[in-house]
Symmetry: C2
Subunit: 300 residues, 2 copies
């Protein structure tokens, strides 16, 4: 299957499943609207695609990994809502639409984020229904869920966003600090998207380590390209103003190294990602390889 068709098939699978899951939660209508607004607003669905692909790489059917794929997208979506808040990045636009708090108000946006984060754990904890023979054993689900919580929590994404806020207050930082901050803020969730799929599928420890390396390098490439796009991307494609990082006083790869050295660093990270999964073969290994190129070439 061509790469774009595979990615699209995975997106549709996840979006259908997400809409189904959310419609079964009994919550206040206004809260549902705020959660759906951000969650079902499109996006590349990169994290769920990684999770499904890494599960399939080790023979698990995509459907069985869907609770985790959906949860990862919920967690990503919550992080965007909270990052956009006035007290954080104060962004009015997200994917070309008003950000969640601009549309629903700050209180609803904070709660929509809290709801998406918490409900993500309902989905993950439902991945081993008792008596379902094809589902992963509870031990695996628990281990994968724990890995996601570590990646999303104070040691991972939340900690990275804290550092991002700290560094934005005018502090000078080194390339190493920038790298560590971004590894926590965006890298950890991308990495655990790969690793959780592999854990669910019962992959061997050494293969989990390979996917961990792949995820870290892919995450680094993703973030450097993000920084470059913010510097010289196309506003229409991005759905937000170019130069917003600089306007906020954020240190980025281009601000530290310039665009061309940043581009070289992204290519290097991409090569490391490919190297990490060189032992794998088959459709999904090809998908993971093509995904590296996709991340490096993307314009939005």
């Amino acid at each position: 299957m061509p790469f774009k068709d595979n990615l699209r098939a995975k997106s549709i699978l996840v979006e259908t499943y997400l809409a189904h899951c959310l419609s079964h939660l009994d919550m206040p209508p206004g809260l549902r609207e705020a959660m759906n607004y951000s969650l079902l607003a499109g996006g590349k669905r990169l994290r769920p695609a990684l999770c499904l692909s890494c599960a399939e790489l080790f023979g698990l059917e995509a459907e069985t990994a869907l609770p985790f794929a959906a949860a990862l997208e919920c967690i990503h979506s919550y992080s965007l809502i909270h990052d956009d808040l006035p007290a954080m990045d104060n962004d009015d636009l997200r994917r070309g639409k008003p950000s969640n708090h601009k549309r629903f108000g700050e209180a609803a946006a904070i709660l929509a984020g809290d709801g998406l984060l918490t409900d993500a754990f309902i989905f993950m904890a439902s991945a081993s229904p008792p008596g379902a023979g094809t589902a992963p054993p509870a031990e695996r689900t628990l281990r994968a869920l724990r890995a996601v919580a570590v990646a999303a929590g104070s040691q991972g994404m939340v900690g990275g966003q804290y550092l991002d806020m700290l560094y934005t207050s005018g502090q000078k930082i080194t390339l190493e600090q920038l790298r560590d901050m971004q590894a926590a803020k965006t890298g950890a969730l991308i990495t655990v998207s790969c690793v959780s799929g592999a854990i669910l599928a019962g992959a061997k420890e050494e293969d989990c380590v390979r996917l961990d390396r792949y995820g870290r390098s892919l995450g680094a490439a993703f973030q450097i390209v993000d920084d470059i796009l913010d510097e010289e991307g196309d506003e229409a494609a991005l759905g937000k103003p170019v130069g917003s990082d600089a306007a906020k006083g954020k240190i980025t790869y281009p601000s530290l190294l310039g665009v061309s050295r940043s581009r070289a660093l992204a290519e290097e990270a991409g090569a490391a990602a490919l190297d990490a999964i060189s032992v794998f073969s088959g459709t999904e290994a090809l998908f993971l390889r093509e995904l590296v190129e996709y991340v490096l070439q993307r314009s939005s």
Copy 2:
């Protein structure tokens, strides 16, 4: 053991465990400070005590249920931090000290809450370490974790806080709406504190249902007393101004029914809680009974 000693022993157990767990998480120092500030600021530790007691009621050692007891306190603490935010209740004081955002700023407070919520799931997912013979089986841990996520998420606590915000905007509500809102906002987490302990201990389904009824009634009694204390409590004991609900335009039990009918309703809920656990005997059953009286008589 006298009730107060039992409650105190459980508090110390949980606080020691919480401090230990947090010290092992590798996060930015400023974020750790903000999380510790609210989490280790005292409080009744009601939810962890319920969890430990209900686990012990069915023969599980308190130590084994500690990851859940600690997680429930983290979730409670996160909810207080987010509820106090300017966009929500805009409270400057909590337990006689500046609220989290007054002390650390809004961005750090939002992230401290996000971190506590997410890390709570690390603790819970660690309750069945592979190879530990005395730990609950992974199936049970996963089931208890799922119940906590349901209680804390959009169908429970987050949904209840959303309704609380909605109702505070001047809308007239009925006693039934008030009851449903509070059952979600505070009742669900109190209830699941009981039920998760019982699930971990392998209690029979009918006993889980009994503790579910106990928790719901106890939660209702707790919240009605909270409303009464806000009307006529002692500011020094409460650590916050009396009358703050009314000042915010919140509908409460006393505002709908007056204090004496509210008090009668709390007593009724307390009696229902006692009735739900009438079949149980032993030290922990006694603790759960005395806890009802404690909740009804509390002054802070």
